[in-house]
């Protein structure tokens, strides 16, 4: 009995001590946990900015960065478990859902107090965070794709390396010349793969002048523009054989890595965001890279436009230190923070003035391509991803529909009609849930 008593009392003491110790903080320094989706060189660049913040706030606030894959799912689970990070660098697609359910702290008051001005931001980037009359987060960085192409491969097949494809017709012609087929009919290199990287089936529809979603009426559109886009992609599938192209794509390496197909000369033209510049400089500095700010023009589609995406910073509900988290986000969105952040990571600032300033043009590691991206970003007509509560399902289902067209199981019209109906039914059901 005495042994058991001793054991139990030691156990109880240990428990008390560990509980006491865990709630004890040294001094007044507040630790802000920041989960971010990037890896490798991209997260290293963020850490430079975080270090600068920590130095300025030594003794008061210390930000700890954690590289987190599957960040949206993990943030959701952490919020549900009541133990979220203070700042989460999520993909913005989930913001409408998070907002409807009060999973995120609205930043309206913070923003007003800090006198942050919407007009300072790129309009597309800012728009991801406005929903139902409130602001639910701020951007960490901007993403605008540009057309990358490999000048050496152009020269190899007799194309002018200083002349990118500027129309859809040219893109098709260039692709025909650049695509290399092996002795057994297998694809060794493709000029351009219409469904690899940006803009994806959603973006292609917009490039072809299609409408995606009407947030006022909560209506999914997906009209003739999308039909035309899907039909155009189908021409590539038919010409080279969709199975052949898929076999070819099966050996593509990860998008953030050394064996990405553009770096490996397996794809000659790619529409991608600025982060790729950093990886090219790291793993394939000898690649004879050229950049053009625009996607080849589609007849009847929008002109002088740009895609503006955003990476999001939110403060989850029940974050332990929302005020300190806001200090960090404020710094992140300040001129100084944005400069530090986007120099190292080869990304784009969210502030218009900074992106066009000589400061950024001189220091950005996107050089000598900085001006190309900024030119694209400055376009007045802006395309952003739809803000719908069933955005996730849209992403999955439009890919399914796109594949059904490419596998020639359905015509573009049928696939899109079914997709639209499915999405609308799902959205109506979802909205009824949250009335």
């Amino acid at each position: 009995m005495s042994i058991l008593r001793k054991f139990l009392s030691v156990l109880v003491l240990c428990t008390i001590f560990s509980v006491l110790f865990s709630s004890f903080t040294f001094g007044e320094e507040v630790v802000v946990t920041y989960w971010e989706k990037w890896v490798g060189r991209d997260i290293d660049a963020v850490k430079v900015m975080v270090d600068a913040f920590n130095k300025r706030y030594t003794g008061k606030i210390r930000v700890e960065v954690l590289s987190t894959t599957n960040i949206n799912e993990k943030t959701l689970t952490a919020i549900a478990g009541g133990n979220p990070p203070d700042v989460a660098g999520i993909w913005p697609e989930d913001i409408p859902q998070f907002a409807i359910q009060g999973a995120v702290v609205p930043l309206d008051d913070f923003i007003k107090e800090a006198k942050i001005n919407k007009a300072d931001y790129y309009p597309g980037t800012w728009s991801y965070f406005e929903y139902r009359g409130h602001i639910w987060g701020l951007p960490s960085t901007n993403r605008t794709p540009a057309l990358y192409y490999n000048a050496d491969l152009f020269k190899e097949v007799g194309l002018n390396p200083d002349r990118p494809p500027k129309t859809l017709e040219e893109l098709d012609k260039y692709n025909d010349k650049l695509t290399k087929i092996g002795p057994k009919g297998e694809i060794i290199r493709m000029g351009y793969v219409p469904w690899y990287r940006y803009p994806g089936p959603w973006g292609l529809g917009r490039i072809f002048g299609g409408g995606d979603f009407d947030p006022e009426k909560n209506k999914w559109i997906l009209d003739e523009g999308y039909e035309k886009a899907f039909s155009w992609a189908l021409t590539y599938a038919k010409k080279f054989g969709y199975k052949n192209i898929l076999d070819f794509q099966a050996s593509f390496g990860a998008t953030a890595g050394a064996d990405e197909p553009f770096l490996m000369n397996r794809v000659a033209i790619e529409y991608d965001t600025p982060f790729r510049i950093g990886w090219i400089k790291l793993y394939k500095p000898k690649l004879n890279l050229r950049l053009y700010p625009f996607y080849p023009q589609v007849p009847g589609g929008p002109t002088n436009y740009c895609f503006q995406y955003a990476d999001a910073l939110i403060i989850p509900k029940n974050a332990k230190h929302p005020k300190e988290a806001w200090e960090f986000i404020k710094y992140y969105n300040s001129r100084e923070g944005q400069l530090l952040m986007n120099i190292g990571s080869s990304q784009l600032p969210v502030l218009k003035e900074l992106a066009n300033s000589s400061d950024f043009l001189k220091k950005s590691t996107l050089a000598p391509y900085t001006k190309v991206f900024v030119t694209g970003m400055n376009q007045k007509k802006v395309i952003t991803t739809p803000k719908s509560p069933n955005q996730r399902k849209f992403e999955t289902w439009i890919n399914d529909a796109f594949q059904e067209v490419l596998y020639e199981r359905k015509s573009p019209k049928d696939a899109l009609d079914e997709l639209r109906t499915k999405l609308q039914n799902d959205l109506d059901e979802l909205l009824a849930r949250f009335k």
């Binding site: 359910q101 057994k184 898929l246």
Partner: protein
């Protein structure tokens, strides 16, 4: 101190202070397991049953909606039917084929050949390799242009299909992969084979039985308890396949590898429908339970215990 010749019950267990003390000590010693089991297994099971009758996004409080999730599941969700079909297809092929191959390999591994421990280890290795690593490895093995499988097929003049890129071949590829990983079952069969008394084989020898007849008449019947065990375990595991689909194909191509577990995961963590996902989980439980019951009921006919 039994009265009236009734069976001993709990009251008798704690009738003396010494026995009471023993019971208390025993419970305290297994209390860590009981606490863990209750918190991490029992509570989630009942919580998910409750959630299956609610609309639960995880970040708002659950809202009771009665049987709505279940009616949606059965009547208004094509992906439920697709994922169930994919999972049934996979289970129906991978479990029996797995049994056939692993029994055959176990028989081979039970012969008296030099270096048998090495061979046994080699066959066991896949089952202790993490599934994620196996998935990535097999993505390369099955690569249509450069993978080993198609390269070897090319040597004998066959142009292999796009294993993971062709909707018709994606599930067979995963079935192939699961057969490759049956190391655990093989070990259980080996143990079962050791249990078969040698005298039976000797008696058969005397009667002039061939090797094939020995396998048919002695080995297989006496191995049926192990086969029965592995078929239940294998079936339960096959119904819950998730990792391979999640990593290798993402449910594609054309939802041909959208397994039930993957669809459940998507509903829980991507579509903000944890309540619906819980309903899916309980339907799967019922299906697996019924299938196991079927196998149990049929076992009387083909499983031979004892001599």
């Amino acid at each position: 101190m039994l009265k009236r010749n009734r069976k001993p019950g709990l009251k008798d267990l704690i009738s003396s202070s010494k026995e009471r003390r023993n019971l208390k000590l025993g419970l305290i010693f297994i209390s860590p397991w009981i606490i863990g089991f209750s918190m991490f297994i029992l509570y989630p099971i009942f919580a998910s049953l409750y959630y299956s009758f609610t609309d639960y996004t995880m970040i708002s409080a659950p809202k009771w909606i009665g049987l709505s999730n279940y009616t949606k599941l059965f009547f208004r969700d094509e992906y439920f039917r697709i994922s169930l079909y994919n999972t049934l297809y996979y289970t129906l092929f991978s479990v029996p084929l797995g049994i056939v191959f692993s029994v055959a390999i176990a028989l081979l591994l039970n012969t008296k050949v030099e270096g048998m421990p090495v061979y046994r280890t080699i066959y066991f290795l896949p089952s202790i390799t993490p599934v994620v690593a196996i998935s990535i490895l097999w993505m390369w093995l099955l690569n249509p242009q450069y993978g080993l499988v198609n390269s070897i097929l090319r040597l004998i003049g066959i142009e292999g299909p796009g294993w993971l890129t062709d909707p018709a071949w994606a599930k067979p590829s995963l079935i192939m992969m699961s057969i490759w990983g049956t190391g655990r079952a093989i070990v259980i069969y080996l143990a079962g084979l050791q249990d078969i008394p040698q005298e039976l084989y000797e008696a058969a020898e005397i009667d002039g039985a061939s090797s094939l007849e020995k396998v048919r008449r002695i080995t297989l019947p006496l191995l049926t308890p192990s086969i029965f065990f592995n078929s239940i375990i294998g079936m339960i595991g096959a119904f819950q396949t998730f990792t391979q689909a999640y990593i290798m194909t993402g449910g594609g191509p054309l939802n041909s590898t959208l397994f039930y577990g993957l669809y459940l995961y998507r509903n829980a963590f991507n579509y903000f429908s944890m309540g619906y996902a819980s309903a899916l989980a309980w339907i799967l439980f019922v299906i697996v339970f019924l299938c196991s019951l079927l196998v149990f009921k049929s076992s009387g006919r083909w499983v031979h215990y004892g001599q």
